[in-house]
Amino acid sequence: MSYEIKINDRISNIEVLSREGNKFSILIDKRCYELDIVEVDKGVYSILHDCRSFNVELVEAKNSKSYHVNTLYETYEVEIIDAETKYLMNRRKDEGEDQNVISSPMPGKVVKILFKEGDLVKAGETVVIVSAMKMESEYKVKQDRKIKRILVKEGDTVNGDQPMVVIE
């Protein structure tokens, strides 16, 4: 069964042609790889291809189908696109969701919220300031926007990827 897989911005077709123990034959787009793949520790893979030794580390991202993937020098965002994901991606496109949310990419503390619900914000203005590890990060809007909902208050602790402000 063939899947679609998204690596950063590249979308590829991927399919396991055959498998015997840890020996895989995998087709990705038109490239066929004969591989020896073992998981040496939770999320840590050792892959041998043509005698070359690759180490790949996975951390599950927002759900069980998306990963942060580290190779020797690079980090990739990988997502397996199944029917569900496609559906969600389409819905997201239709509803314009997500682009309208200001989220904190890291855990931190909300230091300041500079607007209130209903306010109009000019492009480039800072909406919210989050502090983590003695550093403050400002979250701005790129275009003129209106504050629809504010989901946090000053002093709140937020997690990574937690939505803070909904704009329209």
Binding site: H49, E57, L58, V59, T71, M133
Partner: protein, 503 residues
């Protein structure tokens, strides 16, 4: 003699201090904030006391609670580490009053060196060179010229009343002196209604070089040579090395003697650091003194072969230094790099979070001073430094190669770190040549930006690993759960089984 040391700090430095205590047969006490309950220093210590909520002002900076913890656990000494209360003279005084040994210099030395103006005056009196400049405003051109000729070019002329670059002139050539003074004066007059100016030596390519010193309570002071700390980002040191690649033995001896003189001027005891600003011709000027252990102390430990924390404890115990200046020498080359929980490819955004997996670099010539472990959540309240990688080798070139090897083997997942950025620093031609100053990072942006090293194959391998992980999960999900294996035979027999949970 000290029997039990409370370490008024957290993170790698707390663990590092406790290690030396353990080797000396001294018990250690950890203090911790509420979010640090699982921190390594709590696990490593013999005793541990909670001193308050996460914000430093409510815990690690609370002098009263720390003293209380020392009394509760019977600690007879306090080591402040670096940061937090390490350069707080009041805290040192409080310890003294409570009969607890403060492992650090006298409150007098902290106070004197802590105030920039007092420190500068003390250094001038001690004959230690400071950045030449006027201390009084100058109004007439003739005095200005005299002063400039005395200081020597280049100089910076600054409006006394000034700010924001107004009335500032950099003078590099003699023929520009008069026009520069006139220009600065008239600009200052126009902007601030006051044409007085200051003149200061301008150091165009400054190097930050510091000297480690150690003094005892019997008046003995030695230096342990220099550390080159010019690789800085936003005034934060990123790489430190010793010996400095620009140093000569002659200047080293002179600077070392001046560092000792600087320390002697405040009757210094304990470990301290004299920071100098140095130009390309190795003219050097006192910048400030850090009256505590530095983050980068391990490179000195490695090249000189001395455990600085043990020395601090010995001095606090009133022992004389075990060595004289002539007993000390530098062997080989050491480099330290600081690993931060931050995303170097996204404006160095801090990256707190849970360590999912960690593999620390090991082997010949590698020291790794850290405190995080698999499953540990790096809190968002403190400094993002998670560890320090220190390498030693016979030569600087070999040390650079070794550092690359160590960075290659250092794996952390779950958070972003500065490791890829540090890799890139080691590839910058000016760094490799050892020709750099404090402008290094800003002048080498083109080398330090994220390079695209992706090949089609490496992208494919990333995709394949994720895909295989996914389908393996899917398969195990579609198989009937093998509860028996997970929970042991016995659960099932007793009909307790509700479902199979991960624990």
């Amino acid at each position: 003699m000290i029997k039990k040391v409370l370490v008024a700090n957290r993170g790698e430095i707390a663990v590092r201090v406790m290690r030396s205590c353990r080797e000396l047969g001294i018990e250690s006490v950890a203090v911790y904030s509420e979010v640090d309950r699982k921190s390594m220093h709590v696990r490593y210590a013999d005793d541990a006391v909670c001193i308050g909520p996460a914000p430093s002002s409510e815990s690690y900076l609370r002098k009263d609670k720390i003293i209380e913890a020392a009394k509760l656990t019977g600690a007879d000494a306090i080591h402040p580490g670096y940061g937090f209360l390490s350069e707080n003279a009041d805290f040192a005084r409080m310890c003294e009053k409570e009969g607890i040994i403060f492992i650090g210099p006298s409150p007098y030395a902290i106070d004197t060196m802590g105030d920039k103006i007092t420190a500068r005056k003390t250094m001038i009196a001690a004959g230690v060179p400071v950045v030449p400049g006027t201390t009084e405003p100058i109004h007439d051109i003739k005095t200005a010229i005299d002063v400039i000729m005395k200081i020597g070019l280049p100089v910076m002329i600054k409006a006394s009343a000034g700010g924001g670059g107004k009335g500032m002139r950099l003078v590099k050539n003699e023929e520009d002196i008069i026009s520069a003074i006139s220009g600065a004066k008239s600009e200052a007059k126009a902007a601030f209604g006051d044409d007085a100016v200051y003149i200061e030596k301008y150091i165009s390519s400054p190097h930050h070089i510091e000297f480690q010193i150690l003094g005892d309570k019997h008046g003995n002071i030695v230096h342990l040579f220099e550390r080159e700390c010019s690789v800085q980002r936003r005034h934060q040191k990123v790489v430190e090395e010793t010996p400095s690649p620009i140093m000569t033995q002659e200047v080293r001896m002179k600077m070392g003697a001046d560092a000792v003189a600087a320390a002697r001027a405040v009757n210094y005891y304990g470990a301290g650091t004299i920071e100098f600003i140095v130009d390309d011709n190795l003219n050097y000027y006192f910048l400030e003194m850090n009256t505590r252990l530095q983050v980068e102390h391990p490179i000195t430990e490695r090249v000189v072969g001395v455990d600085l924390v043990k020395q601090q404890i010995n001095v606090a115990n009133g022992l004389p230094l075990a060595f004289k200046q002539e007993d000390l020498k530098q062997t080989g080359h050491a480099i330290e790099m600081r690993i931060y929980a931050e995303d170097p490819d996204n404006n160095f955004m801090p990256s707190p979070g849970v360590i999912k997996h960690i593999r620390e670099p090991l082997g010949l010539g590698v020291r790794h001073d850290g405190y995080v472990y698999k499953g540990y959540e790096i809190p968002m309240y403190y400094d993002p430094m998670i560890s320090k990688l220190i390498v030693w080798a016979e030569t600087r070139d070999e040390a650079i190669a070794r550092m690359k090897r160590a960075l290659f083997a250092y794996k952390i997942t779950g958070i972003k770190t500065s490791i890829p950025y540090l890799h890139r620093i080691l590839e910058v031609p000016d760094f490799i040549k050892g020709r750099y100053n404090t402008h290094f990072i800003e002048e080498n942006q083109q080398y330090l930006k994220k390079q695209n090293t992706s090949t089609e194959r490496s992208i494919d391998m990333a995709a394949i690993a994720a895909f295989v992980d996914y389908i393996t999960k899917l398969e195990s999900l579609q198989t009937e759960p093998n509860t028996k294996q997970q929970l042991g035979n016995n659960w099932k027999d007793f009909g307790r089984k509700r479902s199979a949970l991960r624990f």
